[in-house]
């Protein structure tokens, strides 16, 4: 499928960038003129993926986060969130709703559940010690 437009952003894993990241992706996705609620879905899913990099991938240091977003010819929206952090040992288990390795009760274990339910497609690739790559896709409904 032909890529009509593509953007890449990189930024350090500081929590202050969570808002920046989802706004930048939403500003790009706006080109598809999506319904407001579906754009909010994308913002929420991106916020989860980016927060995971900040909280889990780089727990005690600041690392690099990369986002790539694409608009395909058929109107599909694609967004990839990538880190070079600790990686996930058991991706299948990590994706189960309510599963979290966070001990302080701060995280609900619903990040992947939100990504899965708010986007059409979710794929997660990860390698321990190398990093994690989350790819999400969504086709917005036609307006009007």
């Amino acid at each position: 499928m032909k890529v009509l437009n593509e953007m890449k952003i990189t930024f350090p894993s500081k929590s202050v960038n969570e808002g920046y990241a989802r706004l930048a992706v939403a500003a790009f996705a706006s080109q598809l003129d999506p319904p407001v609620d579906e754009l909010a879905d994308v913002k929420t899913a991106v916020s989860e993926a980016v927060t995971n990099c900040i909280v889990h991938a780089y727990p005690d240091k600041v690392g690099k986060i990369e986002i790539c977003a694409r608009i395909f010819e058929n109107g599909e929206f694609y967004v990839k969130v990538k880190d070079y952090g600790c990686g996930i040992e058991d991706v299948k288990k990590a994706m189960e709703p309510l599963f979290t390795t966070c001990k302080n009760g701060e995280r609900a274990g619903l990040g992947f559940a939100v990504m899965e339910s708010f986007m059409d497609k979710l794929s997660v690739r990860s390698k321990v010690g190398r990093g994690t790559c989350v790819v999400m896709r969504k086709k917005f409904s036609q307006r009007g």
Partner: protein, 112 residues
């Protein structure tokens, strides 16, 4: 100010008016301010007002869940007030509608 707290001693109610975007970055400060108000007032009802919240991800679920547990320890209830469609959607995903009462301000009395 991301949280405005209103205390009603007669009703033993604390209402926290949240505003802005609730994400991992901002949730910590909100949690702390609400918990301070709970500890000071030991209310029987905690109302969380989401009327001015423009965005929320699963960090907001952690926030509600944590307050729910805290209020349960006090034998109190939690009521979620004025959530937007977007926020309702995130909360429903977590099954929060089964733990806390959720509705608009006109149905404030609903039990959890």
């Amino acid at each position: 100010m991301p949280v405005r707290i209103v205390e009603n001693k007669e009703n033993k109610t604390v209402t926290a008016f949240l505003s802005g975007e609730i994400d991992h970055h901002g949730a910590k400060k909100m949690r702390e301010e609400i918990d301070r108000a709970i500890d000071e007032n030991l209310p029987s009802l905690l109302v969380l007002d989401f009327g001015e919240v423009s965005f929320m991800d699963s960090s907001g679920i952690g926030l509600v869940m944590g307050r729910y547990k805290k209020m349960r320890d006090l034998d109190g209830r939690v009521f979620v007030q004025n959530p937007s469609m977007h926020i309702k959607k995130v909360m429903r995903l977590a099954g929060l509608d089964k733990l806390a009462g959720i509705g608009d301000s006109s149905r404030k009395g609903v039990q959890p």
